[in-house]
Symmetry: C2
Subunit: 140 residues, 2 copies
């Protein structure tokens, strides 16, 4: 996959919570996990370690800020995060607040059916998470 056909290079309908110069935070719209977010590196880079040290630090600073914003607003039991990219090799992190009543808890979220009521995220909570990101990271 090149940047030509990459869904993170040419996103469609992406809801952006915070936009930075080198990365952005979006909601993931994953059924069963209404507050699952992504931190997407803006450039088409494959591996985390392809970034230099300054860029890695900038990216992980966004990941940590998002963690803290989700914890402050939602009080999850745990935060999970992962960078996989096996199918879409454009560097992005999945940031997943876990709750004791979520579809997979306490197992990892992947490869399990999602059952039960699908909850939409609370719009006001998402807006407060976005405000916390702007407050902590600025608007660069």
């Amino acid at each position: 996959m090149t940047s030509i056909d990459c869904p993170y290079c040419k996103p469609v309908g992406e809801k952006v919570l915070w936009q930075g110069r080198t990365s952005r935070v979006t909601t993931a719209n994953e059924p069963g996990y209404p507050y699952w977010c992504r931190v997407v590196w803006n450039a088409h880079v494959k591996e985390f370690s392809d970034l230099d040290r300054d860029d890695r630090e900038a990216l992980m600073n966004v990941v940590a800020a998002l963690e803290q914003a989700l914890i402050a607003e939602l009080a999850p039991a745990k935060i999970n995060f992962a960078t996989l990219g096996t199918q879409v090799p454009h560097l992005h992190f999945h940031i997943i607040p876990r709750f004791t009543d979520d579809p997979a808890y306490p197992a990892p979220v992947w490869n399990l059916p999602v059952s039960g009521l699908l909850k939409a995220p609370c719009t006001a909570a998402i807006e407060r998470v976005a405000k916390r990101l702007t407050d902590s990271l600025g608007t660069v």
Copy 2:
């Protein structure tokens, strides 16, 4: 779970590839994924964002060095990494080199049965990964 009953505070039979002051690299012994490794924060900390910025940078420098060592020695199709900790809330990263013939490729590795021949890691390759870690990170 407190540090009293935490398997990362009191590891049994852990194979350490690199030992640092604040973190260590171990093999994970996960069936089907012979080169699955872990980066374990030595202290009993729950969330990545509980670390201060300097500690986060030190930890991610180890993650990046391990990624680069695994790529150099094994040429995987992709690196996956994740910090979950939903069941063992002691900060650790799973670093998983993915191969096109691994049990789940290209899906995430979790919650799928492992079939096929279980391969032991090549001892020489593991030793070369360990040497690369020492070369790049030092012995602190």
